[in-house]
């Protein structure tokens, strides 16, 4: 039986490695390039940047096509007019109205151009008492405070649950009871008790993150290798030194996983909480735009939320690679 082979490709590949640009288009990593079987081999599959770009561009193109492309006859394509105004003019004209082929009207979904313009208008003039960046800052600051207090309260509780049978017995029931409650289910209660405003939003975020941090801290302590702890005691460490010098750094990988999960949950909870629970912030901005049909403001808000969510995760992953370089290597 003959083994299928391609002698030319072997010669071509051994001459030089792929450049930066080539890596953007190549199928897998350098080792996997020589593999003959890759279907089902997960180590040969990676996220190809070029395809990420294609899907992003595809989304924007779809949006553009759905809200604009076929739409209006030439005489209504006056670049001076906003999309909404143009469509309003077109709707008033019987001939235009008949040839109007836009998939989604501006009341169903704003066009790319309207959103783009609205983005700059929101940055400069603002909406609902603050600029876009003002609302963003308020929301981010709430997430930071919620995460801070959630960690400050949650990590010691989690550590005590990993270190003492009494503490584990004491905290087990409340943690298991409160953890499955979606924070938003508590929003009406929080609004009644704390009123609408900053305090409610931050307290809700503490509730959202504390259970995650407790579980992360507890599993961080439990992940410690017994021989590592025993080695520290043999070397003369006191209990306090074992806690600070061994258990705490050893739990960093689990704590970081907790941070990443908590940030994601907090961000989602916050925006939803702000819809009704706060007078400002990105969620409040979106909610205020709804009754006056400012869908462009809604869409800008959604895009900013998406971008910030991705940015926070990238920042945490970067921090993780700097702080815990041994993760997955020991």
């Amino acid at each position: 039986m003959a083994v299928p082979s391609d002698p030319t490709s072997i010669e071509a590949d051994t001459v030089s490695g792929p450049g930066r640009l080539a890596r953007l288009f190549s199928r897998g990593d350098a080792q996997s390039a020589r593999k003959t079987v890759t279907f089902g081999d997960s180590s040969a599959v990676r996220s190809l940047p070029i395809w990420s770009l294609i899907s992003l561009v595809g989304l924007v193109v779809f949006w553009f096509v759905a809200t604009y492309a076929w739409g209006l006859p030439a005489e209504f394509k006056d670049p001076e007019l906003s999309d909404k105004l143009r469509i309003a003019v077109c709707n008033a004209d019987a001939a235009c109205k008949g040839s109007f082929t836009q998939l989604l009207g501006p009341l169903q979904f704003p066009s790319v151009r309207d959103t783009w313009n609205s983005f700059f208008a929101l940055s400069d003039e603002g909406f609902k008492g603050s600029t876009l960046w003002g609302h963003t800052r308020i929301s981010l600051w709430r997430v930071l405070r919620g995460m801070f207090w959630g960690s400050v309260l949650g990590i010691p509780i989690g550590f005590s649950m990993g270190l003492s049978s009494r503490a584990r017995g004491f905290f087990d029931t409340p943690v298991e009871m409160f953890r499955p409650i979606p924070p938003l289910a508590l929003l009406p209660l929080f609004i009644l008790v704390f009123g609408i405003g900053d305090g409610t939003a931050v307290r809700l975020l503490i509730f959202a993150s504390i259970w995650i941090m407790i579980i992360a801290a507890r599993s961080g302590v439990q992940a410690a290798n017994l021989s590592k702890i025993r080695a520290a005691y043999s070397l003369g460490a006191s209990k306090w030194q074992v806690l600070v010098r061994v258990l705490l750094p050893n739990a960093l990988p689990e704590l970081f996983t907790g941070f990443r999960v908590a940030v994601g949950v907090s961000w989602g909870t916050l925006v939803a909480a702000e819809l009704v629970g706060a007078p400002d912030g990105l969620g409040a901005m979106i909610f205020a735009a709804r009754p006056i049909f400012r869908l462009d403001v809604v869409v800008v808000g959604i895009i900013v939320i998406a971008i910030l969510g991705v940015a926070m995760d990238i920042a945490l992953r970067f921090l993780e690679s700097k702080l815990i370089p041994w993760r997955g290597r020991s």
């Binding site: 021989s227 043999s234 003369g236």
Partner: protein
């Protein structure tokens, strides 16, 4: 230098289903300072339990252990421990791992630094001080563990299968290093191993232990560790005397295994 004294040590583990395991039964021995003792035996013979009792991580159900006349009641700096693997601190580099003991004691920084530099040379890691431990091979990590344990200048070094996770070639090199350290420092070393050859080559005294209940089956005084300091390791291991001892101990362990199997079949 302190002698180690073990008197009538019994260790019984209670199991949740009301059964119990007799991990050690009537273990007694005296080990003068500066000896290299290897513990050998099939799994379940209590050699790691004995080591943990000596380290102070476990309290025996009966009997006592003293080092230099002082009873052992918990872990202490007079007894250093080297584990099979995974006991290094990944967030510290090689130097700081070795300096961990002195730092916990708030020792003088300058003298610690000097000591660390010396230890790095002794274990053959000169120039690796600022490397991260997770960047090192398994053999080099065990060198760091040895140096870290020596930094506190313990009287006894306890090793729990320290070379068990290493490949054959690295293992041979590390055996040489342990013999050298033993000679240079004159410390008492107790080493648990699964390998008969390693136990013979390193131990100037060997306990062959038997399971159920865990006990010392036979106690050998051997010349090979002393010879190993001057004679080539391969030559020594190939000698007729070495081979004879190895066969003798192997047949003891074989008999134990067969007895265990027989008992299980009877049940």
């Amino acid at each position: 230098m302190k002698d180690l004294c073990v008197n009538d040590v019994d260790m019984v583990y209670d199991l949740p289903n009301n059964a119990s395991v007799h991990a050690l039964s009537d273990v007694s021995f005296e080990l003068p300072a500066g000896r290299l003792l290897t513990l050998l035996g099939p799994s379940g013979c209590g050699k790691t339990t004995l080591l943990n009792i000596l380290a102070g991580f476990l309290a025996p159900t009966r009997g006592s252990v003293t080092l230099g006349g002082k009873a052992i009641r918990g872990p202490g700096q007079d007894r250093g421990m080297v584990f099979q693997q995974g006991a290094l601190f990944e967030w510290l580099n090689v130097e700081k791992n070795i300096a961990f003991g002195p730092r916990m004691n708030r020792a003088n920084r300058a003298s610690t630094k000097q000591k660390v530099a010396e230890l790095l040379e002794i274990v053959g890691l000169g120039g690796f001080g600022d490397k991260q431990v997770y960047e090192l091979s398994g053999g080099m990590q065990q060198r760091v563990a040895l140096a870290r344990c020596l930094a506190n200048d313990p009287d006894v070094i306890l090793m729990d299968e320290p070379l068990g996770a290493l490949d054959a070639l690295t293992r041979e090199k590390m055996q040489g290093l342990i013999l050298e350290l033993w000679q240079e420092t004159g410390k008492t070393i107790i080493l648990v191993t699964h390998s008969v050859e390693e136990a013979l080559y390193l131990g100037d005294r060997i306990f062959v232990m038997a399971p159920r209940p865990g006990r010392i089956h036979s106690d050998y005084e051997l010349p090979f560790a002393q010879q190993g300091l001057s004679v080539d390791a391969r030559e020594l291991k190939a000698s007729a005397e070495f081979a004879e001892r190895r066969d003798e101990i192997l047949s003891i362990i074989w008999e134990m295994e067969e007895e265990i199997m027989g008992r299980q079949e009877a049940v």
